[in-house]
Symmetry: C2
Subunit: 136 residues, 2 copies
């Protein structure tokens, strides 16, 4: 599950896009806007940096900036940076070998789980960070 | 999140559909096939009964049966019976009143969260329990 990480990441990126022309924001300012702990923000910023969506400038006037234009950041890309587990999970216990249903469910659920992820990604990829910021 | 409940529910319903012509199954037999606790199975059966997908016959030859044909049970209907929380959650903390980004994020995330649910439901509703059973 993505938990609230997607909401927090989208909040961070929306703030960065909205204040794009100004001094870079930092995790303290961002955490105030989100009303969360700066540690949570830094943890997500790390993932967004690894995913090439934001970049950090060090130094006195440093902070966080978007690494590319809001119009070229698709929401599915943000989702990809954050999640590790599939939204619909599988039964991890071994199947009962003499039960045909039990032996088939792993493969059936795997296909469904991948299909669910694809549906979510396709939906999110139809929207960019630019579309989100227009609603602020 | 649906957790593993969707996988367990689909396993239960697939077993019921696969053995449709035989004696009704019960939660003990179903839990053996799933390799889980009968309590877990009974909890999910309760939800599926409330959702009108299965029905319970009491008595010596009693057990659980599908309440309708596998071809008319869409996977989205099963999903609906089980889940309570949205797959993508919102930040529940109050927004920072003097921050325009913070004040807009609740509505933005609500729309996205509903969109994600709809994508998942649309995908699942394109498949029936009958389609699943054909793969066993």
């Amino acid at each position: 599950m993505v938990n609230k990480r997607f909401a927090t990441a989208l909040h961070i990126l929306s703030a960065l896009a909205y204040h794009e022309e100004q001094t870079p924001l930092n995790s303290d300012l961002l955490s105030q806007s989100i009303n969360t702990n700066p540690v949570v923000v830094r943890r997500i910023l790390k993932k967004l940096t690894q995913g090439g969506i934001v970049q950090t400038q060090r130094g006195k006037h440093g902070g966080v900036r978007l690494a590319k234009k809001p119009s070229s950041i698709k929401l599915g890309e943000i989702y990809d940076c954050l999640h590790s587990r599939h939204l619909i999970s599988m039964n991890e216990k071994p199947p009962k070998k003499d039960c045909k249903v039990s032996c088939s469910m792993g493969k059936i659920m795997e296909v469904l789980s991948v299909g669910v992820e694809k549906s979510v990604k396709d939906y999110l990829n139809r929207q960019s960070l630019c579309d989100v910021v227009k609603k602020i």
